[in-house]
């Protein structure tokens, strides 16, 4: 184990964590505001990747793929929330079963539309190649992911912490009933948060398409990671999602590198430990 190994694995872990942040921050907010365990969240990631892929094929523009993929899936999310999930407010189990129903439908639709072959999303030449610093090689694309996730994280934090809408969301996370009582339109907030969550997950899917690829089964493969992030970080907490994503990214990378056969175990065992010590997650409130 050279120093180089540790540095490059740390880098890989952090960049994977950055991608997970995009996926999990939305899940955490949705969960915080609506108490919905959205099992279709991984599907947003996958569908975002596929839509992005189609856009790149047609137009060749990566930026357009990011925007189009994220917006299209945000609309899907809004539709799901308004037309279906809203009818089941407060029914935890019903909502879970419904989101898994959607996840199965999305999975099959994706297979129908894009087929079963794995694809890699072509990234712009400016983001290809590696950056060499002091003999260490860092893939540019992964750097891009980290910068983008950091920027989005900062924007989200500013929006949540400093704006009126952010205050409304935080109020809805803390106590939806009271928030409603003081005149906040919680249903509208819920819809907005759901759209935002789907938007971020799909954005993650397009970006992830550049290094994870886009393939059938990715939805259910990535979903547990998002859940572990939320569980570790605490539900409805943005700082929790940030710390959780980086932690999970690092654990996953070192786990896979050091103990390939037990990779998932090295990811989930620390989660279990955190749960045993702090049942509401690192940043969750009791």
């Amino acid at each position: 184990m050279t120093l180089e190994f540790w540095i490059s694995q740390t880098f890989n872990g952090l960049s994977y964590g950055a991608l997970l942040f995009l996926l999990a921050s939305g899940l955490s907010l949705i969960f915080g505001v609506m108490r919905i365990v959205n099992l279709a969240h991984g599907s947003y990631f996958l569908l975002g990747g596929y839509v992005g892929l189609s856009v790149v094929w047609r137009t060749g523009s990566f930026a357009l793929a990011l925007v189009a993929g994220a917006l299209a899936i945000a609309l899907v999310g809004v539709g799901m929330e308004r037309l279906f999930l809203r009818k089941l407010a407060g029914q935890t189990l019903g909502q879970v079963l419904m989101t898994i129903g959607f996840a199965l439908i999305f999975q099959d639709l994706a297979l129908l539309i894009w087929g079963g072959d794995p694809y890699s999303l072509p990234v712009p030449t400016a983001l290809q190649g590696v950056l060499t610093v002091g003999g260490l090689r860092f893939p540019r694309y992964r750097l891009f992911i980290m910068v983008l996730a950091a920027a989005i994280g900062a924007l989200l934090w500013l929006a949540l912490d400093r704006t009126r809408i952010g205050a409304m969301i935080r109020a809805a996370v803390d106590d939806a009933e009271m928030a409603q009582g003081v005149g906040i339109r919680v249903p509208t907030v819920s819809m907005g948060v759901f759209a935002l969550g789907a938007f971020l997950a799909a954005l993650g899917g397009v970006i992830g398409g550049g290094f994870l690829g886009v393939y059938p089964g990715l939805d259910f493969e990535i979903l547990p990671y998002a859940f572990v992030v939320v569980i570790v970080g605490g539900l409805g907490s943005l700082p929790g999602a940030m710390v959780g994503s980086l932690l999970v990214g690092l654990l996953d990378n070192f786990g896979k590198a050091l103990f390939p056969e037990l990779a998932y175990f090295t990811l989930f065992a620390p989660m279990a430990l955190i749960l045993a010590l702090r049942p509401t997650g690192l940043f969750g409130r009791t």
Partner: protein
């Protein structure tokens, strides 16, 4: 009233299945066997979901570890039925005992997520621990058990009766459990945890014991599943299997035992029939999930109208 209806409906279904089985060809008989085995899994989850009010999203874990125990012991070590059964039950119980320690601390939605994540631990091991589980390829060639009966369980009909007997045994035991004072206290906890605590019940311990028992019965189902299928793979422990079990319970009516068992049979038949006619069965299954929740009568999900706090 309700429980008697459940026993009548379940008993009638078992009697009809047992009576018509000799006249059936191999394929429907296979489905019936499958339904009988999966019914045990659904009933085991019902103890948690319907009677205790704990929606577990990782129930395939206990089912799966037992199936893997049988798969590994019966092929690599060529152990007999009793060894495999005991090992499967022990491993499932042990897994539930460990997971329960972590999961029972939480409630409501958080419980859902923790059991989901714990279920994924088992899936991850099944998928990645290739030297033990053969990974994605799965363990093939699990032989049908030799139990010293005059009929070979390799044939579909005797195996069906064997599985049906196991299902009846599990049904009877679980029925005794939920009607016992312990089962009554579980229902009390489902209705109002704080009230039960105020009455001096050890709520945590009740939930924990229910969790472990439920895991043990899921393992019981897993043992028979491995023998039935002859093949154990990560599919048996994946999230979709756990969710499917939830659907069976929700469809049949939580808190009735016989309901989830019939729900299990309905889903098994639906899945198999639909996949005969179309490749798009996932699409249809997804629509069934949504349809059941949107249009099912209040009774089906009635027990879970309230958000468990």
């Amino acid at each position: 009233m309700k429980t008697h209806r459940g026993i009548l409906a379940g008993g009638a279904a078992v009697a009809v299945a047992a009576a018509i089985a000799p006249a059936l060809s191999a394929y429907p008989l296979t489905l019936l066997t499958q339904a009988a085995i999966v019914a045990v899994l659904a009933m085991s989850l019902d103890v948690l979901l319907g009677y205790t009010g704990l929606p577990s999203l990782g129930h395939a874990a206990y089912f799966g570890v037992a199936a893997y125990a049988v798969g590994i012991l019966a092929t690599d070590y060529q152990r007999g039925f009793v060894t495999c059964l005991v090992a499967g039950l022990l491993l499932a119980t042990l897994t539930a005992a460990v997971f329960g320690l972590l999961a029972i601390r939480a409630s409501g939605t958080y419980f859902l997520m923790i059991t989901l994540a714990l279920g994924m631990v088992v899936w991850g091991l099944a998928f990645r621990w290739v030297s033990m589980t053969k990974g994605d390829n799965g363990i093939a060639g699990v032989p049908r058990p030799e139990v010293g009966l005059p009929w070979s369980l390799g044939a579909p009909l005797p195996f069906f009766y064997f599985a049906l007997a196991a299902t009846l045994l599990a049904w009877a035991l679980l029925g005794l459990l939920v009607r016992s004072p312990f089962g009554m206290s579980l229902m009390g906890i489902r209705e109002s945890e704080s009230r039960m605590r105020a009455l001096g019940y050890n709520v945590w311990l009740h939930k924990y014991v229910a969790f472990v028992i439920s895991g043990a019965f899921a393992g019981f189902s897993g043992v028979f599943w491995a023998y039935y299928n002859g093949f154990v793979s990560p599919v048996d422990v994946q999230l979709v299997t756990s969710v499917e079990t939830l659907l069976m319970v929700a469809l049949g009516g939580p808190g009735t035992l016989a309901g989830p068992a019939l729900g299990a049979a309905a889903i098994v038949f639906l899945k198999n029939f639909v996949s005969v006619y179309t490749k798009r069965w996932l699409l249809i299954l997804g629509a069934v999930y949504i349809g059941v929740i949107l249009f099912a009568p209040r009774g089906v999900l009635g027990a879970f109208r309230r958000d468990p706090r």
